[in-house]
Amino acid sequence: MGDEVKVGTVIGEAAGFVSVPVHASISGKVTAVGRFPHPLGGEHQAVVIEGDGEDSWDESVVPRDNVDALTPREIRDIIRDAGIVGLGGAAFPTHVKLSPPDSKPIDTAILNGAECEPWLTADHRLMLERPAEVMRGFRLIMKALGCERGFVGIESNKPDAVEAMKAAVPSGSGIRVVMVQVKYPQGAEKQLIDSLLRRKVPAGGLPMDVGVVVQNVGTALAVYEACHKGIPLVRRVVTVTGNPVGNPSNFSPRIGTMVASLVEQAGGLSDEVSKVISGGPMMGMAQFTLDVPVIKGMSGMLFLGPGDVDTRPPDPCIRCGHCVHACPMKLLPTTIEKYVMVEAIDKAVEMGLNDCIECGSCAYVCPSRRRLVHQFKYGKYLSAELRKKAAERSDKEKGN
């Protein structure tokens, strides 16, 4: 409390391997530390900084000249200390993804330029406006992984981005820019790997199981900024869009900026707003307030008007099978839903509940408007609880 902080000052230490520090994104005075509404629901610990308008940077932020001389290990450490997480939305610490065990050699890195959801254009704009920096970040990622081959997957509806990224590829670098089909969810890791390499990540496995690591273009830019300029992750690109938004745009706000002020910048909200979503329309989190900050994993803020939101209650399942055809993970959503609804969690897991990537395709096509993803999230929660209980029980038995 009352501490002076500058841009880049560490205000939250990493608590373990799978976590990263948090940096002040503006300079000013800490006025509060407490629990505040969080875009992912509930309240979380936050530090409130009153800006001094100086935007002065922490002494630790210094550009680096010898970037080419960095070892993979050094790159990973820089990425961790810069607080970089996957900016596609999942916000998984990047240095962890770049530290595969020796038993899983990585031969290919993929730069994900297939926008993860409709409406969002943050990745598209980045590839158009800062292709050279994104590409340099991607090469650092490849170096950290020690792999020679890289793919940039971009959906075919963004030919301008394909051009820009192709122009940024240095000759003889082993990086190829590939156009992939426009389909949802093309931007999902496993689907993108399948599209580019025809490799299928085993059910329950990770991309590293097939020798691949996928990184988002925003993450690549953050890696570039950290390695070359010494700048930690204090800003990201956020798409502010939706029919009620006066002037839908992409912004590059500092992390921690209140969503309400982003909305102001985007020309305010003209129409009545029914739904506020952090993220995209298919997987985003519905918000109950605009008093939430921009977080590292926030790729967009989507506003839906009354005409965009279907609030009719669900009808009974008519077993049309449309969800089965839509599921990119080749599951039987209707069957899993029925198991979850009677809380037969073991059966649901057997049918692939935990393989569900919650992309929302099944619920999107359902003529009965079944709340499929809602049930799957609930089922996964129950399944995790059961696992926890089982672990506790076996611990106890061991203790005795």
Binding site: K190, K200, V201, P202, A203, G205, L269, E272, V273, S274, K275, V276, I277, G279, P281, M282, M283, G284, M285, A286, Q287, F288, T289, L302, L304, D308, V309, D310, T311, D315, P316, I318, R319, C320, G321, H322, V324, H325, P328, M329, K330, L331, L332, T334, T335, G352, D355, E358, G360, A363, Y364, V365, C366, P367, S368, R369, R371, V373, H374, K377
Partner: protein, 351 residues
Amino acid sequence: MSEHFIVSASPHVRENTSIQKVMFGVVIALVPAIVGSVYFYGVRALLLILLSCLAALITEAVIQKSRGVPVTIGDGSALVTGVLLAFNIPPGVPWWMPVVGSVFAIAIGKQVFGGVGYNPLNPALLGRAFLLASWPVQMTTTWLPGRGGTLSGLTLKGVDVVTQATPLAVMRKVTEIIADPNSTTHQIVQAREVLADLGSSESIANLFMGQVGGCIGETSAILLLIGAAYLMFKHYIEWRIPGTYMATVAILTWAFGGPSGLFTGNALFHILAGGLILGAFYMATDMVTSPVSPKGMIIFGVGCGVLTSIIRLIGGYPEGVSYSILLMNVATPLIDRHTRPKKFGEVKKSG
């Protein structure tokens, strides 16, 4: 700006679709065949269809009211059952038969199980099976010849084998006569003549257009196919069930349906005659009562085809479409259980 936002789980947008849209899509697809039935069998056909639909809707509404659940007759599912039930009865039945059939179809076939989505059997087919078991005479003799044609689709030149029967019944009769060692040479010659007539281009054309005797909605292949094309275009049905169903019937009737040994049967006749096209495209594809997985659909279609062929070739009825589908409906949960698609990235456990 409203102070209260709607908070719900993702996804936040949906395709503009509903049960109602799907069901009315089926009704639209059935319109050509409805018009055709009026053309072939007169206004009487239309009256029977309307009575059947009315009975289905009223039954659904009354039962839902008495169950204290929302009345959903607007979703079109009872309407589809009403039309399909009428399509599956002969055009000469007394007026009360479609009414009784529809009441049974909706009450026992559907609402007893909890309404739309929960019925294990196709309600319309169950209604037909009920009528066939209860009033077999009316259900198998009250045929009318299609306008501009005859009952069997043949113009028999003084042949006295069978004249007052539908094409499938004639086919059955002549095949029996040829196979019967007690038949006289004269009878066999005549039967072979009729058999040749059944396979003639004129007979096939009549079956294709619908100028033959049969159930109200089943006779015109062309009109049913127009509707089926619409359903496929709208993605309400897909090829797997009707395709494998018809292919199986074609292969089996060609292989085993001929009078002179293997591979002498007339597959085209068996596809066009009777209720196969109606059953394959409009009833076997009933979403509620058929499997959801692609592999399951193929098993379901092949199963329907095998059963239909067995009933037509060696069973007690000339026609077997409705019982085949009902039997496969019963097998659907079993098929679903054993045809779970391979998950993305699923590998067979070794050992």
